[in-house]
């Protein structure tokens, strides 16, 4: 009878692990607080009822962690609606007011001190009229960059970026065999991982990173590409979106979307709008643009 019990125990453990994984991966929480009438202290709106009460307001408050003194940008339905600067402790808060009730897609990203952007952290949210919605636990992914676009096999490739101060960084190298590296971010959130390229095969690779702090896990950073070859080429430091910036304004937004929409399923698109170089503009090109979106 020991066998079945052992198997059941294993299932319980798997279930518990799956549950814990789910909770960690979904660390953004929403608390909807029913908006109560607030005492009028406004000098512009006269009290509309005895006692000077204002009608309930619709607010959405976003709270989370980015990098120390970094610019945090909030997008509502793909368009920038607010920016703020995080504190020295990397915490930030953005409040949106006068918002119509309905379903929204909110996205948040941040920029490090070198101008690198994090990946877009996106979450859907239904906003109710007269309700204050608190979105807490936003944990912005680290930024990531490399010092060489091509590195001679055997040399060191520096993988660096910024995250929450003192967080544990996991660097993930996507090659034939996935490679993981661990490093700790310093007091300003900067991290540097020296990759010994003897550990990976020749060819093209992708690197990503994620931060962990007190059981909270950030989403994955953007993927940065590099090549292990027979020569070393230093990486250019121009900060532009990798793909999707069709009007060269260093942003990927509704303007680029409109240009791409014009070319949707039209014959002979230019190479610039054909983001996957397959000779046509279709849903795949839009998916690539949506991935590199900055608002």
């Amino acid at each position: 009878m020991k066998g079945p019990f052992l198997i059941i125990l294993m299932v319980i453990i798997i279930g518990a692990l799956a549950g814990a994984y789910y909770v960690l991966a979904q660390s953004v929480n929403v608390t909807a607080v029913v908006g109560t009438t607030t005492s009028s202290s406004s000098t512009t709106t006269p009290p509309s009822s005895p006692g000077g009460n204002l009608p309930p307001t619709t607010h959405v408050i976003f709270t989370g962690k980015a990098y120390p003194k970094s610019t945090v940008t909030l997008l509502k339905d793909a368009q920038i609606v607010a920016t703020t600067i995080s504190g020295v402790d990397a915490n930030f808060q953005i409040s949106l007011t006068n918002i119509t009730a309905g379903s929204y897609i909110f996205s948040v990203y941040s920029e490090d001190d070198k101008g690198n952007r994090s990946s877009l952290l996106t979450f859907p949210l239904s906003v109710s009229s007269g309700v204050i919605t608190n979105v807490t636990g936003i944990f912005i992914s680290p930024t990531i960059d490399v010092d060489k676009s091509e590195v001679k096999r055997g040399e060191i490739l520096k993988i660096f970026g910024q995250a929450i101060p003192n967080s544990d960084i996991t660097v993930i190298i996507n090659s034939d065999e996935e490679l993981y590296g661990k490093i700790k971010a310093d007091t300003i959130g900067a991290y540097l991982y020296n990759l010994d390229t003897l550990e990976i095969e020749m060819g093209d690779h992708l690197a990503k990173s994620r931060a962990t702090l007190e059981e909270e896990i950030s989403s994955l950073s953007k993927a940065i590409s590099f090549k292990v070859g027979t020569r070393t080429v230093l990486k250019e430091t121009i900060k532009i979106p990798e793909k999707g910036d069709l009007n060269d304004d260093k942003r990927v937004n509704l303007i680029d979307f409109s240009i791409l929409a014009y070319w949707y399923q039209r014959p002979s698109p230019s190479a610039k709008v054909d983001l996957n170089n397959d000779g046509k503009v279709n849903l795949i090109d839009f998916s690539i643009m949506a991935y590199y979106w900055t608002g």
């Binding site: 929204y104 303007i255 998916s287 991935y291």
Partner: protein, 326 residues
């Protein structure tokens, strides 16, 4: 005998545990998205109008950022009255298409940054892609189904197709009934919509050396119905004076008539309930005064008026002089 019973029990345990393990592990390894339809009831009467919501679910840790949906419905039982983009999480690439005769509907859009599922504590589902407004024309069983060519792409920077599970809906349309009043769910929704579309920021863009106007407004209730554009120039100013302003129905991107970008532009977003939001765009370049027809007209009228005044004055002087002489 006891041994075989025990073996049977163990086999059952193993099968049960295997199934449990698979069900627990699936959400972690899956890369599937689910497109599904939802109606408030599964039975309607002839002449009723009902809403069918198109929604999406995704597996944990999966993010979808582009969706192309194709739906088929029996055109002998149902008629599509409208497609509403209100409250949709999609940014539509083009207007949804409806083929009433063939019984086909298609839509295509993106979710910048991707949709990764509902977050804990969200009071709503927040996964609406669109609403189809059906009108029942004859009794029968109506199956509204996704076609296999529908697709959802992963937000991975490469547009990798996600495994897609499609769930349609089956509706029973019953003959007219004198007892039940005819229901119109869409009309009820339109009656509630008193809020105009949200503010939006139109932009002038250049494609193939020509200037276009790009715009996209959102409406959280009935959805955007259409856009109208007014390029302000001499003729529209005159029309305005005469009370005959002609707005042009348009879609984004709109090829500007005034390619010199010296016209002021007004863009009107109108929702399905008829609420409007007008956004004004200042001219990129102000045209010099001598290029303004309106200034020329005022100048010419002024000159004619001056000449007329002088002529009248001279005539009056001449008459007075003649009177004095006589």
């Amino acid at each position: 005998m006891q041994n075989s019973k025990l073996q049977f029990k163990i086999k059952n345990y193993i099968a049960l545990v295997f199934l449990l393990g698979v069900s627990l592990a699936l959400p972690l390894i899956g890369q599937a998205a689910e497109l599904y339809l939802e109606t408030s009831k599964n039975q309607y009467y002839i002449d009723e109008t009902f809403i069918t919501n198109i929604r999406i679910n995704v597996e944990d840790n999966e993010s979808i950022n582009a969706i192309e949906g194709y739906l088929k419905f029996p055109s002998d039982i149902l008629e599509v009255k409208d497609f509403s983009t209100g409250n949709s999480i999609l940014t539509f690439i083009e207007e949804p298409k409806i083929n009433k005769e063939e019984g086909l509907i298609s839509f295509v859009g993106i979710i910048p940054g991707g949709y990764s599922g509902r977050i804990p504590g969200d009071p709503g589902l927040s996964n609406l892609l669109g609403k189809i407004i059906f009108y029942s024309i004859s009794p029968g069983i109506a199956e509204i189904m996704f076609e296999d060519i529908s697709q959802a792409l992963l937000s991975d920077g490469e547009g990798t197709p996600a495994e897609l599970i499609n769930k349609g809906v089956t509706i029973e349309i019953q003959p007219l009934d004198d007892i039940n009043p005819i229901q119109n769910e869409w009309q009820e929704e339109l009656a509630k919509d008193k809020i105009p579309p949200e503010d939006f920021n139109p932009e002038i863009i250049e494609i193939d050396g020509k200037y276009y106007l790009a715009f996209s407004a959102k409406d959280k209730d009935s959805g955007i119905d259409h856009y109208e554009i007014l390029e302000k120039n001499f003729f529209t100013n005159i029309s305005k004076l005469l009370g005959r302003v002609k707005w042009i129905d348009s879609e984004s991107p709109y090829l500007l008539k005034g390619q010199s970008l010296s016209n002021k532009i007004e863009i009107k977003a109108i929702d399905k309930a008829g609420n409007e939001k007008i956004v004004k765009l200042q001219a990129t370049y102000s045209s010099p005064l001598y290029k303004n027809y309106f200034v020329w007209v005022i100048l010419i009228i002024s000159i004619f008026y001056l000449i007329w005044r002088i002529t009248v004055k001279q005539k009056q002087n001449n008459t007075r002089n003649r009177h004095e002489i006589s």
